[in-house]
Amino acid sequence: MSDMFLNTLLPQLAAGAPHTSALGFVLDGVDGGDVRLRTPWREDLVGDPETGVLAGGLVTTMLDHVGGLATWVALGEYQSIATLDLRVDYMRAARPRTDLIAQANCYRLTRNIAFVRAWAFEDSPDDPVAASQAAYVLTGDGARRVGANLRPAAGSRA
């Protein structure tokens, strides 16, 4: 994995699109295969005005997005991917007026699919607000070629 990928491209992928920039996403570190994304608390991102807690939809968006980042880290490069499906379990209410962190790990990568687990929390993944399980399709040319799944790729990962 190049320094250019980690230091320049990944922060751009984390927060450079209009939606991620509007939400205030910040890349909060990469440790091995673990990637962290932070959203500073903001009034307009609240889901329940009664509690001041960030919206469930925002948590889902963070988990979806950080899972994509973890997939690119596992691939060691940028390639085109698309979320296939995403399941989120909400374990407890987030703390009001507090930044939220999402951390993901791509624990299995095949030629076509990346399998990712992620957690959302304020302090530690041991005390999660939500956890997710997601699958991403690798839509880059190599994976999409007809029969790509039948031939062992040169230098393939198992």
Binding site: P18, H19, V46, G57, A82
Partner: protein, 131 residues
């Protein structure tokens, strides 16, 4: 406009609009540049569509089962079926079952053709005690 969605800051951030036919809510997310997740395609961020699905489900449950507190998600599964083009997205939810505590809901989001949804949601919500 649905009263609950009007009160939710995140629904306003997404620019959601809604209309009611009987007790069936249709929520629309008009296109805005800040919803774009992939500027190269361009495509909507999957998260903005997921949030639309979830908020539509919450609002539909709250409409049919009014409670003191809004329904809280227990779990949510989103299937992404097609890439979201830079156009408005429509969404409707269906409550398949509501017990005393849990409501099971599905929702679909589409752009111009309801038979070609761009994403689907299956979710369970916790209902607070009746007022």
């Amino acid at each position: 406009m649905d009263a609950l969605l009007e009160r939710i800051p995140y629904a306003r951030f997404l620019g959601l609009e809604s209309r009611l036919d009987g007790d069936l809510l249709t929520v629309v997310m008009p296109f805005a540049d800040r919803l774009i997740g992939n500027p190269l395609l361009p495509a909507l961020h999957g998260g903005s569509t997921a949030a639309l699905l979830e908020l539509t489900a919450v609002a539909q449950v709250a409409l049919v089962f009014p409670r003191l507190h809004q329904p809280r998600p227990i779990n949510v599964t989103v299937s992404y079926l097609r890439s979201g083009r830079p156009e408005a997205v429509n969404c409707r939810a269906r409550i398949l079952r509501a017990g005393r505590r849990v409501a099971h809901v599905t929702a679909e989001a589409w752009q111009d053709d309801p038979d070609q949804p761009i994403a689907g949601l299956t979710a369970n919500f916790l209902l607070s005690d009746p007022e």
